[in-house]
Amino acid sequence: MDFEFSDEQKAFRKVVREFAEAEIAPYAEEWDRTHEFPTETVLKMGELGLFGLPFPAEYGGSEADFTTLCIAIEELARVDQSMAITLEAGVGLGINPIAVYGSPEQKERWLPDLVAGRSLAAFGLTEPDAGSDAGATKTRAILDGDEWVINGSKAFITNSGTDITSLVTITARTGQDEISTIVVPADTPGLTVEPPYRKMGWHASDTHGLRFDDCRVPKENLLGERGRGFHQFLAILDDGRIAVAAMATGVLQACLEHSVAYAKERTAFGRPIGANQAIAFKCADLETMTEAARLLTYKAAWLKDQGLPFKQAAAVAKLYAAEAAVTATREATQIFGGYGFMDETPVARQYRDAKILEIGEGTNEIQRLVISRGLGLPVER
């Protein structure tokens, strides 16, 4: 058994931490306040090669393993979840479907810019009436000659309306019991990007609803096999769960560091608040949760990298890490007392941002369903 990251992974973690501390942390509060998607910073993340980490060198990627991608996501989330989800969604939901299911022509056309981080792709799965129940997709695509004609709407789509968004991959009903995946270039007439949502957190992350009104794309924009859309996005979501667990781990690490530092520095009744068991034990719990989340996350990432089954491990890691992150941000906010309730305090931002970790890429309830089915229980079949 070996719990060590490789020397290269350690060196890379250091670089990403340095980047995050210098290029993101000083501005995260402002972006949170102004709800600004920092395009320039995202382009810098591209220059650092973050969006190309797990992809083939022929498209400009680094051929890194999934563990290395998780390290990058964890380090970004440690200072700002908005930038972490921008990377996570950009890679996992944006680029991955094209890299995995795309034809050589589709890869050639889209991957070089996406992998270099010069453009972003989004994944349109969720609909106003179809979230966890993705099979209830209502958006339709009908073949009319050489074109798909798309009608419908999508909700909560990350990275779908930035200045550098080049495409949205959507799931659409292409027959009675048939869901397929289709690539819609961002400038396609009939595609409307709705105004950004007013979210509780992740303010600097770009999230929009999308509307398709007789939106026409060429027939060859079908991604992978017709009718395989359901299987495709389920596989994509398994990867995403580990990545969200990595985000949650970064959040936990941030809570731990901020809380311990504050517990040593802040005095009350003539001594540091960390001298009180009530505070010290909270810090001990944060350490324990952080360690557990990290181990679950990287165990799942390791399984994936080894080509071993990881569905169960991914669901376990995502469920535990997300719940732990929400608990940790609440407790860290408590340690910060009145300052913890001020928006500009990093743990306050992390608190607002963390809740979505229990919802996105499979809710806690869906994870429990996956896990209990993995145990062989005939639950809700």
Partner: protein
């Protein structure tokens, strides 16, 4: 252009390090990092090499150990490294270090040698000038901007009040200040490639030195004693009676900040 960049591995300034009680030398941990001031030298070296289809070779005198700091510079994009690593070098002063590096650089050949102005751990700030003497080439120092045109290097040399424009014909030695360029972050691809890049390890004997010429034995300089830095004094408080800005301006002028 063939560019030699001096790169020093130092203990991480974020973690306190010790001096050995007898010689007052830094007790070097196995894990050392690239001196932050050298990242600027590496970056300007890479930019000049990219513009002239040249190459960047790193030179370092460093005890054997892991080469984490050198790998950091290779990950930024330097082509290879030459490390002079030999227990006999322990205790070398700046001049001996310069002699060792000069011979290694000469052996490799160079058009331009780039260094930081001074290292973060030793802070002697004399090595580059010694190198230029030993290599018998001009030294352009404290560059805050660098321009290259054929055989000529032109710099803005930082002065207390502004800068001087200085130029020299290659070959030359150049020292750069922090801020001359924004050093790039190594990418994961760069980190992986750094593993494969050649790191040549030489001993003092490989460069033709015998044991009496290097290390403590060959050094004229030694540290007699060290004293801890005095604790920082409380700053001066200027009470604002409406005229405080004058006083503040005076202090800033004295510090040559404005």
């Amino acid at each position: 252009m063939k560019i030699a960049v001096c790169a020093k591995q130092i203990p991480d300034p974020a973690t306190p390090y010790e001096l050995d009680p007898e010689h007052h030398w830094i007790v070097r941990p196995d894990d050392q990092i690239l001196d932050d001031t050298d990242r600027y030298g590496v970056e300007i070296g890479l930019q000049l090499a990219e513009a002239s289809e040249g190459s960047v070779t790193l030179f370092s005198m460093s005890p054997a150990g892991n080469l984490q700091g050198i790998r950091q510079a290779l990950a930024m994009g330097a082509d290879k490294a030459v490390i002079v690593s030999d227990p006999a070098l322990k205790g070398s002063d700046a001049l001996v270090t310069a002699k060792v590096l000069a011979r290694a650089i000469q052996q490799e050949g160079f058009d331009l040698v780039i260094a930081g102005t001074e290292s973060t751990d030793g802070s002697a700030g004399v090595l580059p000038q010694q190198l230029s003497e030993l290599l018998e080439v001009p030294a352009l120092t404290f560059a805050k901007a660098v321009e290259h045109d054929g055989d000529t290097i032109r710099i803005h040399r930082q002065t207390p009040d502004g800068y001087d424009e200085v130029e020299a014909t290659l070959p030359a030695v150049l020292t750069v200040t922090a801020g001359v360029v924004e050093p790039r972050y190594p990418t994961f691809k760069g980190i992986m490639q750094a593993k494969q890049k050649p790191v040549e390890q030489l001993t003092a004997a490989d460069l033709g030195f015998d044991a009496t010429e290097v290390g403590a034995a060959g050094s004229a300089q030694y540290v007699r004693s060290v004293t801890p830095v005095p604790a920082r004094q409380a700053g001066e408080i200027v009470e604002d009676d409406g005229e405080a800005y004058r006083k503040i301006l005076e202090v800033l002028e004295q510090a040559k900040v404005v």
